[in-house]
Amino acid sequence: MKKISKSSLFFLPAFLWVFLFILFPMIWSLYISFFKYNPAIYGPKMTFNWGLNYYYILTDKRFWESMLHQLYYTGVGVAVEVTLGVLVALAIYNYIRSEWLKMVCLIIVTLPIMAAPIIVGTIWRLLFNPGSGVLSALSVMLGFGAIDWFDRAHAMNSLIIADIWEWTGIIALIIYAARIAIPARIYELAKTDGIPDRIVFRRITLPLLAEPIGMATLIRMMDSYKFFDLLFIMTRGGPGTATELPTFYTFILAFEQSDFGKAAALSWILGLIAMFIMQYIWGYFRKLRRFEVRL
């Protein structure tokens, strides 16, 4: 018993800190979610309302629309990022001979993921800016006429484009690391046996990369579920609610409508979805620890 208590001194401070400032607040927000609590309108009074908040959210069209936006955003964005990331990683690995140039390419590819999302959002908002933005100018130059990148039809895709710019690099980096880990001997054997490149790619490279690709996809999916900063600075959910995602709707409920009860209920719905997804990624996630990257 004494031995346990002494060694737990190591992890207790960290554990307590996270417990006090993450877990306890979350439990508290579960409590709040069962109350009508809107300090801006009704003052600090909290009235128990029998879980009506959850009923409101689940029958709220705006909530379900934001979930659909999330599906579209995650589906399209992550699909493009993974495809592009894998291609870029393999292109750098296979087609650039000089080690030095390989490293320069990888650093450039990684550059966007180190930038704060809010900075990326600023830059892309400027690029998409109607009229004076580069992309508007390009679309005029190419003869498509002036496209308003932030109108109802394009706004979501504009966000996805900015997201692809920022996050393709992480996929490329993970896949590059995984490709390095495949022993070169396999390829030598394939070459001495005279197996054509296309078959080597389909029968050796792809199957061996399947697991890292799966993991990279899951990481990106979880991350896109947390997507907030870019949306905040680029469209603020607009026009109307055309680009609103569930996390942003939670933010609006809490900090613009001051409806903390409903916001807490929505954040718990989002949290439960996250836990549900995590159940599935758990096994995958543990394997990640094996990765060591050599650049």
């Binding site: 554990f15 292109a91 087609y95 390419c105 930038a115 996390t247 954040s267 650049l295």
Partner: protein, 266 residues
């Protein structure tokens, strides 16, 4: 074969251009005056380059102070988070107990931050510490501890237990063993953990936006606000962005080997 190589090179060059162009455009815009930034069609390079925006970003009441606040908050929170994270990481690496807690710590990082931003905001409101550096530091330490624990555990795992046992047989206390023997071995890992934790605090937006107003605001909070009567000061915003991007670039160059490890836990 050579044709194929050429096509791949061109495609890769296009990709590199696509990555670099927005950064070029940010630098370009940061050297312009506000009427040049909003010119139609856009100007591909600044006609009369000016450093005015950088002076604004570094020394103005609002932007300059926000950078200083960012520096205080990220440095303070990193110091605490890495210290506590190292202790916990050591524990999980050596004692191999409470694995459940380790994984539970990691899960907290997978939730959308808005989930705890709301109750933390309410809690700090009751405690009366909204809009202080302390509030942001407390929140960032909580968010970054899992990252620090994850990274430090990985580095401790690389040091064989036998090394420590030998030192302990020589009569060193457990804390001395960590400090004098293990830490120097994994010094590069510790440096990387510090840098990566720091950059997360530096780049964080949502909590900063929610928890600060007029005193402790950090630079991500200032960025979206440079709009005066429908005039958007993109020249200032990009200048501030470029300044705030510099630490990221330096850390990328120095710690590029460690970056994948960090981003699996973003």
């Amino acid at each position: 074969m050579e044709l194929k190589r050429l096509i791949v090179w061109i495609a890769l060059a296009i990709y590199i251009l696509w990555v670099l162009f927005p950064i070029y455009w940010a630098i370009n815009s940061s050297l312009k005056y506000v009427w040049e930034v909003n010119a139609i069609p856009p100007l591909w390079w600044p006609p009369k380059p000016t450093l005015k925006n950088y002076i604004w970003a570094l020394f103005s009441e609002r932007a300059g102070k926000s950078l200083l606040n960012s520096l205080i908050v990220s440095t303070g929170s990193t110091a605490i988070a890495v210290f506590l994270g190292a202790l916990a990481g050591y524990y999980f690496s050596r004692y191999r107990m409470h694995e459940g807690i380790f994984w539970w710590l990691l899960t907290t990082r997978m939730f959308p931050p808005i989930i705890f931003a709301i109750p933390i905001f309410l809690m700090f409101k009751y405690m009366g510490i909204l809009d202080t550096h302390l509030a942001l530091i407390i929140a960032y330490v909580a968010v970054n501890i899992p990252l620090a624990v994850w990274l430090m555990r990985g580095y401790f795992d690389e040091v064989p237990v036998e090394v420590e046992e030998a030192a302990r047989l020589d009569g060193l206390t457990p804390f001395k063993v960590i400090w004098k023997i293990t830490m120097p071995i994994i010094a590069p890992g510790v440096a990387a953990t510090i840098a990566l934790t720091w950059i997360f605090a530096w780049n964080e937006f949502l909590l900063a936006y929610v928890l600060t107003r007029n005193v402790a605001f950090t630079y991500p909070v200032v960025l979206p606000t440079e709009v005066v009567s429908s005039q958007v000061f993109y020249n200032r915003m990009t200048a501030l962005s470029i300044v705030a991007l510099l630490p990221s670039i330096i850390i990328l160059l120095v710690f590029r080997k460690h970056i994948v490890r960090m981003y699996v836990l973003r």
